[in-house]
């Protein structure tokens, strides 16, 4: 292997010195500035050493900017990127437009059958896999075992919302800055609305009925948002209306939250003793339900996709195969330890005993991912797919505005009823504009 590598390197060097007869392909990768992607960028040398004819250019951007850039570029067919980091929301929409390169012809050893079925399903349109999952996540309850014990309660593996409320009330100790529950409040379709949409599924709510009429001011949504407000206002931290994933992560790590319902990837952060003051006192449970047969957990996978207009499709495929392979996982494990490998994409990872012992949250993560059903997210029938989103192009715009209304209600600037009335009106308006 190493001989082969050095031979390759030598050939490449010879080619370069011979005057570039050996053409170098540049692959431009747009990615988000999350920890796992930064690590991938840091491991670039490993890839280029094995593929000296490929040069990688990174465009690492903050999530909102990234989404705006790649959407603009693919919609206008700008051709700026050869690999785009996108999520389970974009893949079905872009895939059905024919804007992405199918990955059905990935090499045998990449082993598409090893991908978790829920994740693979979310990235497949009409039998074509349009993106390779880099890491996958669901959401679950993370709680403080010590506070739970102090409150004299025991967290079931699959709690109900009523239990969560009871536990939040018992754990809250505002004088000591301990808040029973921390949830997302910051406005955005991927922020508070991801949480609320997932939560609403367990309350039997849906975004649209079978005729694409929004149901935001309906009974179920009202019940969802009222329950959420009740939890947040009574047992939540101050300033919750601007708290996103980051803010809650920091609160939890500082020991200020009793429970936190959020992305499963957070589990490795809150149990990391370098960053977290409560690393050894964290327990996990499935996202709550309301006895209606659906749980309030979502499903997301940051994935690598190749836009159809790319002029370096083959090289891009090579890179995507490398970054989402089992070998990459092993590479990260050898350098940073098993707890830091990108989770939630492959069955083999969850069968790996080394990973199981390094990651106490592995089982709950897998259970949460498997519990999500993007094709059948809510109790009632829906015309769309997606658990915490609706896979139509208009959703991001609508949900962000709805999220702003709910966030304003959480900040005490309007009532829940007002917020939902406005949300209903703007959703109906945008859907009409889109021609539903």
């Amino acid at each position: 292997m190493s001989l082969k590598n050095s031979l390759l390197t030598a050939t490449a060097l010879a080619a370069v010195t011979a005057g570039g007869a050996f053409a170098e392909t540049t692959v431009t990768i747009a990615t988000v500035n999350n920890g796992d992607m930064i690590r991938m960028q840091g491991l670039t040398d490993e890839f280029t050493a094995a593929n000296p004819d490929i040069k990688l250019e990174w465009v690492t951007l903050e999530e909102n900017v990234l989404r705006q850039r790649v959407t603009q570029d693919i919609a206008a067919k700008g051709g700026q990127f050869d690999v785009m980091t996108i999520g389970t929301y974009e893949v079905p929409i872009w895939g059905s437009q024919g804007w992405l390169v199918s990955l059905n012809d990935m090499p045998e050893e990449w082993d598409a059958d090893d991908l978790l079925p829920a994740i693979r399903g979310g990235l497949t349109v009409d039998g074509e896999l349009y993106a390779a999952p880099f890491y996958g996540e669901s959401s679950m309850v993370m709680y403080r075992t010590d506070l739970m014990e102090k409150a004299g309660l025991e967290m079931p593996a699959a709690p109900t919302w009523d239990f969560i409320k009871q536990a939040a009330a018992a754990m809250t100790d505002k004088d000591n800055e301990i808040y029973g529950i921390c949830l997302r409040g910051k406005a955005g379709w991927g922020e508070n609305m991801a949480f609320l949409t997932a939560m609403s599924n367990s309350f039997g709510a849906r975004w649209f009925d079978e005729n694409w009429q929004p149901e935001l001011n309906g009974e179920e949504w009202t019940a969802t948002v009222n329950y959420y407000m009740d939890l947040m206002n009574n047992y939540g931290p101050p300033g919750a209306s601007t708290n996103g994933f980051n803010e809650n992560l920091s609160l939890f790590q500082q020991g200020k939250c009793g429970m936190w319902i959020d992305a499963t990837v957070a589990a490795s952060f809150v149990t990391n003793p370098n960053d977290s003051t409560v690393a050894d006192k964290v327990g996990f449970a499935l996202a709550p339900d309301n006895g209606l047969g659906k749980r309030g957990n979502w499903l997301w996978a940051w994935s690598l996709a190749i836009p159809a207009g790319s002029d370096a499709t083959d090289a891009a495929k090579k890179f995507v195969a490398w970054a989402t392979s089992k070998d990459y996982t092993a590479l990260v494990a050898s350098k940073e330890g098993w707890a830091n490998v990108p989770p939630g994409t492959r069955t083999s990872l969850y069968e790996n005993p080394e990973y199981q012992s390094a990651a106490p949250f592995a089982e709950m993560t897998l259970g949460s991912i498997n519990a999500a059903d993007p094709t059948n997210p809510s109790v009632k029938p829906v015309p769309y797919t997606g658990v915490q989103f609706v896979a139509i192009p208009e959703f991001a715009g609508i949900a962000t505005q709805v999220g702003q209304e709910i966030s304003a209600a959480l900040a005490g600037q309007q009532s829940v009823a007002e917020a939902l009335e406005k949300a209903q009106a703007l959703a109906a308006d945008e859907m009409e504009a889109a021609g539903y």
């Binding site: 406005a187 101050p238 300033g239 900040a411 600037q413 945008e430």
Partner: protein, 288 residues
Amino acid sequence: MATQHSRSAARLMMAPAVVLLLGWMLVPLIMTLYFSFKKYLPLRGGDLGWVGFDNYVRFVTSSAFWPSVLATLAIVGGVLVITVVFGVLLAILLNQPMWGQGIVRILVIAPFFVMPTVSALVWKNMFMDPVNGLFAHLWKFFGAQPVEWLSQASLQSIVMIVSWQWLPFATLILLTAIQSLDSEQLEAAEMDGASPLKRFAYITLPHLSRAITVVVLIQTIFLLAIFAEIFVTTQGSFGTRTLTYLIYQRVLESQNVGLGSAGGVYAIILANIVAIFLMRIVGKNLDA
């Protein structure tokens, strides 16, 4: 003095700038107008045909429209008032004899060099964060409940951030103007027993009126377009959605180019109303 020859030469020399700007204005403007009459949804296949004034009607009847116009005016107005008032005071202060004037001037103009994105990030995270921000620590130190700046006082917070960035500009222009003030005139007034307040009102302020006009005009042009400060801090929630931000949401978040373009046309109209208004009120001060 100007001969026929130099007149035509003058036209010729003006041509590049005028042609370029005309192109820069007309090409996007015409394309915006074109899109604004279309149903144009890039994520649904692009051009879906002509729709007349639908986009215009839809944009203006949306519940977000008037609040966004008000938010725009509130931010522009708030920043203008703060920068002009404090700019005048600072200019007067910096014009007094003191030690280390040069260094103080450097300190005061520094915020003007900071990228809007950076200043918004710094203010949001390191000052206005309700848990880890410096303001929160300060409030707690005095036994007060920390303010949730970006949700409870969102508009004020943004006005504050933007004012911080533009105060140096106003101060500099006003300072240069004040330095050109005839000090003998002030001394004579002082001899005559005019109080400092009277001297300010009857001599300094009238002298500054041209400079204030310039500050207001230039800042308005830039303030109508502020975007990064809102994008980084509140993303348009809590009543901080300006017209510019609303257009951004339509074009990029909802990917509705037609609707956003109609919004763009409204924004141009609003900008021109503001401009005409400004010219009427302060234009006579400006002999350009």
